[in-house]
């Protein structure tokens, strides 16, 4: 058992998997000698060589498009987009091809590949380094998207993502990269993709969050319990595509109230789908309208204001209170 940060846990997963499976390759900008700008790929090049740990030219569409070609020819590429804000350079490769190759070829080909990308605000970075646009990917049939909320989840999910036969967008909450350590079992642990997890039980209120928003949402739930004596059930969605709605529905039917927290923009954000699903199958159990605590519909401000942009613990608690009051 070792205490690890999320960066270490991800790095551990990559070392492990490259060691186990010779078909795994890592590619991207600065993933080799530099070990990745966040050090997630640290040491890989020394252990596995520059054929399998590839510093590519600076070209996101080619990184993704070439990864697809690799995946079609016997490899399991894990490519890195340095920041999710630059993934749009490769959007056409992702939408037009990565997501569709199994479907287009009617199963003759498939694309076992992972596209890793740090997402989210809060690390005092430059413009375009703080985006959270999950829906760009979750709205595309054929893709999976997961976002770990801690080191243990990060390792377990990355292992599953690499082994998955379908393309996985791996959203890494950079705010949590080094924020806390967690015990990560020596033994290999994998989490199935497509499964949400109840991380705090409660009967008064259902709360859905993931990735970087999860820790503060849990804290908000604790504050609520302390200050109001109300118990929120907190669900770490983990997987946004496929969306694991069942545990959410089950919980909402019990609590009758729900809050969704995300750092994506509010409008057309992932929260709206969660609301719509609850509407569809659990409407009659709702005792109050569902609240969304989100970033506003504005571009992430430069970093001096980014913490105000993000949903704060206080805002989350406020939303809990409002939902409980109505």
């Amino acid at each position: 058992m070792a205490e690890m940060t999320m960066v270490e846990a991800l790095n551990h997963a990559l070392h492990h998997e490259m060691d186990q499976d010779a078909s795994v390759v890592v590619l991207g900008e600065d993933v080799g000698e530099d070990g990745g700008v966040f050090r997630v790929t640290d040491g890989l090049i020394d252990e596995f060589g520059e054929q399998r740990v590839v510093d590519t030219p600076l070209a996101e569409a080619a990184i993704v498009g070439a990864s697809l070609g690799m995946a079609l020819n016997g490899l399991r590429p894990v490519c890195e987009i340095q920041f999710s804000g630059f993934s749009y350079y490769a959007m056409h490769q992702i939408e037009n091809h990565v997501a569709r190759f199994r479907w287009r070829s009617r199963g003759r080909f498939h694309a076992p590949m992972v596209i890793r990308m740090p997402y989210g605000a809060g690390v005092r970075a430059l413009e375009h380094h703080s985006e959270s646009k999950e829906v760009f990917f979750t709205h595309i049939p054929g893709l999976k998207l997961v976002a770990p909320s801690g080191p243990r989840a990060a390792r377990a999910l990355l292992l599953s993502a690499i082994r998955d036969p379908d393309p996985v967008i791996f959203f890494e909450p950079k705010l949590l990269y080094r924020k806390f350590r967690e015990d990560v079992e020596e033994e290999e642990e994998t989490w199935p993709l497509g499964e949400a997890r109840v991380v705090r039980e409660g009967d008064d209120l259902t709360v859905v969050a993931w990735g970087a928003m999860l820790p503060r949402t849990r804290e908000a739930a604790d504050v609520l319990a302390e200050e109001e004596g109300a118990e929120a059930e907190v669900i770490d969605l983990v997987s946004l595509a496929p969306l694991d709605h069942e545990p959410v529905a089950e919980s909402v039917r019990r609590t009758g109230r729900a809050v969704v927290v995300h750092e994506a923009h509010r409008s057309f954000g992932p929260g709206s789908e969660i609301v719509a699903r609850i509407m569809e199958d659990s409407f009659y159990h709702l005792e109050a309208p569902i609240h969304r605590v989100t970033a506003p519909d504005v571009t992430v401000p430069f970093f001096a204001r980014e913490n105000a942009y993000l949903p704060t613990k206080e805002r989350i608690v406020d939303a809990f209170r409002s939902v409980l009051e109505t």
Partner: protein, 383 residues
Amino acid sequence: MPRESMELKPTFETLSILDEEGHLDRDLEPDLDDEELEELYRCMVRARRFDELLLEWQRSGRIGTFAPVTGQEASQVGAISATGPGDWFVPSFREIAAFLWRGGDPVDMTVFNAGWNEGVRIADDAHDLPIAVPVASQVPHATGLAYAAKLRETGNVVMTFFGDGATSEGDFHEAMNFAGTFELPVVFVCQNNHWAISVPREEQTASETLAQKALAYGMPGIQVDGNDVLAVRVAADEAVTRARSGDGPTMLECVTYRLLLHTTADDPSRYRDEEEVERWESRDPIPRFRDYLVEKGVMDEGRDEVIAEEVEASLEDVWSDAEERIEGLGGPEVMFDHVYAEMPPELTRQRERFSGIEAETAEPDEQPEAEDDEQPEAEDDDG
């Protein structure tokens, strides 16, 4: 060296062996056996004829929009015939001739063109990718396939096809640069057919040739007479050999011409002169090659007629076979297949609901409902 003109390495070349007048450069003539020469010819003829049939079927509403190959047979057959079955074929959307050379089934292509996903049917051991509609988007895939081939030491090379227009896309650039940087076993075959829909080659780029673009990637480029199947084949053989021996990628520019329309939704009279087309008709790769084969004694006079009949016979049943296949295809719920290896619960729910409603409202034969959705009289509605 305060101010100097630089010399560029690698240099790039032009190649022509059998010119439009039928003059042969014997020093450059490739050493192909008679059987193979006839196969090249047969494939070109078959592609041309299949094109005609598809056009006919399209005009009578049996199939949808497609991109004809007529005029480009030498470029495609000359290039693809340099590959072996283990090599990868990465097409764009006009590679009918190359598809046939690779053993593609015209029935599949017809089913595909009739709008059925089942028309994409690739054998488990075939190294052929499906058609890529988004221009230049397949070029990075070729690069990735080649990376894997090199890393896994499979000994296979990759050949990808694209048009003159495709060279303007960022994907072309990024993929070529990757291939150059990692010295990958890829052959980039640019079919310069002079038009990208309505945009002529000269307005696509100010570069004098397309082949010289290879120099930006430290890669040899060669401009070939794309209507001279011998020249294309020689250039492709060299490129494949270079790739296979680990010496990296090559770009071929095959100078050819799209004799017909861009796709069946296109009306070229809006943007190009009949005269230009006529000029290129006189450079038709098929008669040029036939005359060479006759001259060389590979084919007797009249042999071309026999081949034409054999080709005809090989295509005779395509439509009826395609029709038969289509009749046996599943209902609309087939659209839910192959999205993921395992269908997620929500998709299963969607399919159940869909099938429930289909059962209620659709015709028993499960044809898509006609409703009021007649087609708009689209003109070029196909891009």
